[in-house]
């Protein structure tokens, strides 16, 4: 029963994403644009760009994720679907988890798709590129999970956009540190399994706690 409800939520999310596909493209374009601005700002020296590459890409990922995050619960809250959801038997935390997963799929996975382009832009070595892909794979779901809590807290506010960034960016600090460290280690041909394992541990922690916190936050926002 719950599985059917969850798959219905997922299918609806995919359909909605498809109907609003132009809106989905915007954060990705923003992401590529921010990265293209860096060489213009700091100079095109290949060595400098390579040194900064991991940090630049991850910061751009954070910023573009923040742009897309609002979509996570905004529409369901505004049109009343969330109310009806809360009055069904499906646990709200599972609903939140499905929403976060579909958000990750449609807003953050495209970043992975355009990442080879960035490797060229920022002169990343092959080792660095694969490390980057791994950190994005393991680390980026954290953006949706932790971000979901922030969105759930601010969804009822008229102007939540800037506030959302203020709430979330400090929480993303460990992610940024471990992810860039993993890429930097790869650049020096050092093993980076430690950093990746830490990212994975953070992911598991968030996977367990974030849906519950989000469900509670949604109830607070709805009351």
């Amino acid at each position: 029963m719950v599985m059917q409800q969850l798959s219905a939520i997922f299918k609806r999310d995919m359909l909605l994403a498809f109907r609003q596909r132009s809106e989905l493209l915007q954060p990705i374009l923003f992401f590529v644009l921010v990265i293209a601005l860096f060489p213009l700002g700091v100079g095109p020296g290949p060595e400098l760009l390579q040194k900064m590459g991991a940090g630049v890409i991850w910061i751009a990922t954070l910023l573009s994720a923040l742009l897309g995050l609002e979509r996570l619960f905004r529409d369901d809250f505004a049109d009343g679907s969330l109310e009806q959801q809360m009055l069904s038997d499906c646990p709200l935390s599972l609903y939140a988890l499905i929403k976060m997963f579909s958000h990750w799929l449609v807003s953050i996975v495209p970043v992975l798709v355009v990442s080879p382009l960035l490797a060229v832009f920022l002169n990343l070595t092959v080792d660095m590129y694969w490390a980057l892909v791994l950190t994005l794979l393991i680390g980026s779901p954290l953006l949706s999970l932790i971000g979901g809590i922030g969105v759930a807290l601010t969804v009822g506010l008229r102007k939540g956009g800037v506030l959302l960034s203020l709430l979330l960016l400090p929480l993303f600090v460990p992610l940024l540190i471990f992810a860039t460290a993993a890429v930097d280690a790869a650049a020096l041909q050092l093993p980076n399994t430690g950093q990746l394992a830490l990212l994975a541990a953070l992911l598991l922690l968030a996977l367990g706690l974030a849906p519950l916190a989000t469900a509670y936050a949604l109830k607070v926002s709805q009351s």
Partner: protein, 206 residues
């Protein structure tokens, strides 16, 4: 025995006390019409009764059990709020089908027939956002035909509806009540029902 009991409910919103120690009951086969000026807390009361908000004090009982401990409350109740609960990017058909799945209702009703009855012929596949306010309301009210629930809690169900649609909904309410169902609704319009309507008045408190 009363189906729904509100016991000493107190609600504080934005640090203003909307109502305090409010008690009443809705019996099976009863229509309760909630009156009151704007801002008196009618919507807040309904949201507490369905369990979306928590009261500051008091509790709500369904069949004698607190609603947050009652496992079947959600499946025995339909709530229609100010927000229609329809995604503007999906069609009426998609929205209602999703709602059926979300509420775990067996799909026994033919949605096309139902939408025809509600005067939405030819609009089944149009995104709900493109429909007029009254048509959207009709789609939302289609739920009253879809889910077999004992208790209906309706917040301003007649807004934006034309007379024929109001009549249709009122007939459905009458049928529901005759089958021992209960309805709790707010409306600024007078009801023209052939059955007895109980009234409850909520006044604005400073």
């Amino acid at each position: 025995m009363a189906l729904l009991v509100a016991h000493e409910l107190t609600c504080i919103k934005s640090d203003r006390e909307l109502f305090s120690a409010l008690s009443f009951a809705v019996d099976a086969g009863q229509v309760l019409h909630l009156h009151g000026p704007n801002g008196a807390g009618k919507t807040s009361l309904l949201r507490i009764l369905v369990g979306l908000s928590q009261p500051y004090g008091g509790q709500v009982l369904f069949n004698g059990q607190p609603i947050n401990q009652h496992s079947e409350y959600n499946s025995q109740m339909i709530y229609l709020g100010h927000k229609a609960g329809l995604s503007p990017h999906l069609s009426a058909l998609e929205n209602l089908h999703y709602w059926q799945q979300q509420q775990a209702i067996p799909a026994t009703v033919d949605l096309m027939n139902l939408l025809e009855k509600l005067g939405l012929v030819g609009l089944e596949e149009v995104p709900v956002g493109h429909l007029s306010a009254g048509q959207q309301r009709r789609v939302a009210l289609a739920r009253l035909w879809l889910k077999p629930a004992k208790l209906w809690i309706l917040d301003e169900p007649f807004t934006a509806l034309d007379t024929s649609a109001i009549e249709l909904v009122q007939t459905q309410i009458e049928q529901h009540v005759k089958a021992a169902g209960s309805v709790l609704l707010t409306s600024h319009q007078a009801l023209s029902l052939s059955i007895e309507v109980h009234n409850l008045r909520l006044d604005y408190q400073w």
